[in-house]
Structures are given as structure tokens and as C-alpha cells.
Symmetry: C2
Subunit: 236 residues, 2 copies
DNA sequence: TTGATCGATTGGTCAGTCCACATATAATAG
DNA sequence: CTATTATATGTGGACTGACCAATCGATCAA
């Protein structure tokens, strides 16, 4: 090659088609409301001037991110960003054993006590919680066997009153992990009558303005020793 | 159609190729160690007896889940499952303002106080933390301007001592959110000398066995009022 | 030994094709 | 007219075969 270079050689802008498609479709999804339908794969491909394959790969990525739902023969639809967050990032593929359940309980306790603290400090109106609790008491008397997810509903409502969306989201993740893990371990959810009584105790402490006591009660309510224990947990 | 039906018609089991490929590749990834290479797309496709397209879609999903890294012209490699978890599920696209930073601080406080509590209750050896703190003090004296991520390193080490992987993972997520948010808001990280002193205070309380005081110190250390405030935060 | 070259491999992308299923529309039997 | 049945169309799912650009090694020449 000669040393004279009459033309300035500029590297061609290498667009990573897939990334770009993902970026644009992600933006499109954000601009749409939950339930709305994206164009068909063929439409999107044509508008973006890329092949259907690239669109499909991007949609798969969005799907695995939980942002979008792909319905066979029906189209792709935007999901509610507040709907059940993924728990894989937290789970980390750890085996569900007694130790794991203890870790989970500690996590729950960290969050729930914070919720109680925030609710207590802000002196919010607790009437809806009392209403929920009373309804739960009626259900408990009528159908003692039913599950009803009372524990969950109580704490979700409380977290909502705390007014911290990040805390709510985190609670959602931990709760999902919680139910999944207990189901996987095949353990019973516990004494619902005891739970109900403890809920009342926490609420009463909150109403009385005794935040510290409410936090302590919540801590004991959530972070109790796991009944079934494996062999290596003999100590302590 | 006649009412006589000599043949029993059984619906053919329609396997969803993509799901099945994803399932199997996910299992393969779990069985491999971080850094290991999956077979080439063509190999995997042949082994699974599916097309390259299906393999690629599954790999994209695994990639967006952070389980795998696809390197152009080089292959697909298993990622460290402990490496920086995704923060999208927590972030929820919320705007970063003073309120948001307050929420984040509350989340941090929930986790960090729990960490302190666990460390305190287990009476673990705090020598490595002291070592870290001393080193940080030296750095602080030598290069006061440097960042060094001390706050982070201190709390990560403490969380490790607490021995709860779920808590550690959650802390990772919140920390990533924390640094990202403060950077986005364009705020200064704060008085590093003060932080250092507070770290020492927390450690001293832990060493003295005063768990409650350590928790309180950590709470105040993390959940302090945000300096810059927006207009609508006049109240309170 | 050093440097250039060639070829095989790999992920990225594409066009085109076929399939199964769903929905809406049109045709038909009652 | 109604109700049922064909039919047409659109959708995501999957496959094939091909080409590209970058990378890495081996081979070959200076």
C-alpha cells in the first residue's frame, strides 16, 4: 500500500441491529399503557427496516424482563410494570432448606419492621387496616381451613400506608419468594389464629403510638424459628 | 358428524420448542461454572435437534436475565450469578428526585440496620472490618479528594459477616440503585470524614456488644435528611 | 524469526417458507 | 331470519439456507 492516502477512511458505524431494536421497542413499550398491543412482528420488522428474526429476539428479551407478554397468534401486549416483579435476581438458585427459610425470615423482618416504623412515625389513619383485620377475623371464624393469604394482605396494606414505593416493591419480591419457598419446602403456613392475634397486637401498639413495641412485635411475628430443622442446624 | 367414533382422538402434545430449549439451556448453564463456554449455537441446535433460531432466542432470554454473556464471534459464556444483580425490577422507572432519594435511604436503613443486628447477635470477629477502616483512614488522610467507595466497601463487608446471602444480594441491588441515583441527581456523596467517624462509632458499639446502639447509629448514618430538596418538599 | 495470508469457526442478520391456531367474514342449511 | 358451517386472513412459532464480518490458528513466505 502506498503512503499517499487521498481518502479519509472512517470506520463504518456498526449498528448492533438487535441492541437498537431492543432499545427502540423498549421505548415503545414505555410509551404504551399496560394491556396495549404492539404491532405484529411483521409490522414492527418493516417499520424498523429489519428482519423478523431481530424483532423476535428483542421481544424475547423484553418478555424475559417481564415487560411484555407474547400471546401466540394474538400479538404482543404491554404488561403492568407493577405486576409481580421477578424473584430470580434474589433467589440466586439457592436450595430451599431450613437455613434458607431463616435467611428469608430475616429479610422479611428487615422490611416489615421498617414498614411498621414508617407507618408509626407518620401517624397515618389505621382504619382500613382495622377493617381488613375484622374481615379476616370473620373469615377465620367461618372457614378456619381456608388460606386467604391474610398474612400477605395485612402486610401489603401496611406497606402501602408507609408510602414508600421501593419498599412496597421489595416487599412484593420477598413475599413472592416467601410463598414459593414454603410451597417448595412443603411446609404448613402456620397457626393462622396466632397470626391474627399478632396482627391485632401490632396494630394496637401502633394506635397507641408505641412504635418501638410495634416494631418488636412485627419482628417476632415474622422472624420466628423455623419448625422443621435440618441436621446441621443443631447448634444455637 | 356421526355419533359412532371408532377411534379415540388424543390431542398431540404440542411442545413449545422455545420454552423447552430455554429450560434445557438454563439447566446447562446452572451445571456449568462461571466463565465456562457453552457450545456454539450450531452445536447446541444440533444436539437439541432444533433450529439455530430457537437456540438464539433462548440465549437472548438467558442473556437478558443476566445468566449468560454472548460474545460476538467468540461464543456464549456463563456469567457469575453473584455479579451485579439487575436493578430494573426495583427501580420501576421512578423519577429521581428528593422524595425518591428519601425512599432509597429508608430502604437502605432497613437493610443495614438488619445487617448490624445480625452481626451483633452472632458476635463475629470484627478484625477484618477494623483493618478495612484503618486502611480507609490512611487513604482519607493521603488523598482526601478520592472517592474510593468506602461507604460501600464497609457495608458490603459487614453484610458478608452477617452470613445471609439474600440480605447481601438485596444490599447489592440497593447499593447499585444508590450510586446510580446520586450520580443521576448530580449530588455530592457527602462528608467522607463524617462517614468514617460514624463507621468507627458503629464498630465500637458492636465491639462493646451494644447491638441496639449500633443499629441506631447505622440508622442515623444511612437515613439522614437529603440536603438538596425540591419545592414540593417544603412540608415536614 | 517474523510477517502476511488463508481458511475454519462463530455470532449477526436476512429473506423466504410452512405450520397451527385464532378470529372474523361469508356461505349455507334449517 | 337464525344458526351453523366453510372460508379467508392474520398471527406467532419454527425452520432452512445463505451471506456477512470478525476472530483465531495454522500455514507459508521473506
Amino acid at each position: 500500500m502506498g503512503e499517499r492516502r487521498p481518502f479519509q477512511i472512517i470506520p463504518i458505524r456498526q449498528v448492533d441491529v438487535y441492541r437498537e431494536v431492543l432499545r427502540q421497542l423498549d421505548g415503545l413499550v414505555s410509551s404504551l399503557r399496560p394491556g396495549e398491543r404492539l404491532g405484529s412482528e411483521r409490522e414492527l420488522a418493516e417499520q424498523l427496516n429489519v428482519s423478523r428474526v431481530s424483532v423476535r429476539e428483542a421481544l424475547r428479551a423484553l418478555e424475559s424482563m417481564g415487560k411484555v407478554e407474547i400471546r401466540r397468534n394474538a400479538g404482543t401486549y404491554v404488561l403492568d410494570p407493577n405486576g409481580s416483579p421477578p424473584i430470580e435476581p434474589l433467589r440466586m438458585g439457592l436450595p430451599v432448606d431450613a437455613r434458607y427459610l431463616q435467611w428469608l425470615a430475616e429479610l422479611r423482618s428487615a422490611i416489615e419492621t421498617k414498614v411498621v416504623e414508617l407507618v408509626g412515625r407518620q401517624k397515618v389513619d389505621l382504619t382500613p387496616v382495622w377493617a381488613l383485620l375484622r374481615q379476616a377475623g370473620d373469615e377465620l371464624a367461618a372457614r378456619p381451613g381456608e388460606d386467604g393469604m391474610m398474612d400477605m394482605r395485612f402486610e401489603v396494606l401496611l406497606a402501602r400506608l408507609a408510602g414508600n414505593p421501593l419498599l412496597i416493591q421489595m416487599q412484593r419480591m420477598v413475599h413472592r419468594l416467601w410463598v414459593a419457598s414454603w410451597a417448595e419446602a412443603g411446609l404448613s403456613p402456620g397457626d393462622r389464629h396466632l397470626f391474627h392475634a399478632e396482627h391485632e397486637g401490632i396494630l394496637e401498639a401502633l394506635e397507641a403510638g408505641d412504635v418501638d413495641r410495634a416494631m418488636e412485635l412485627m419482628h417476632d411475628h415474622v422472624d420466628r424459628p423455623v419448625v422443621e430443622r435440618t441436621e446441621e442446624d443443631a447448634s444455637r
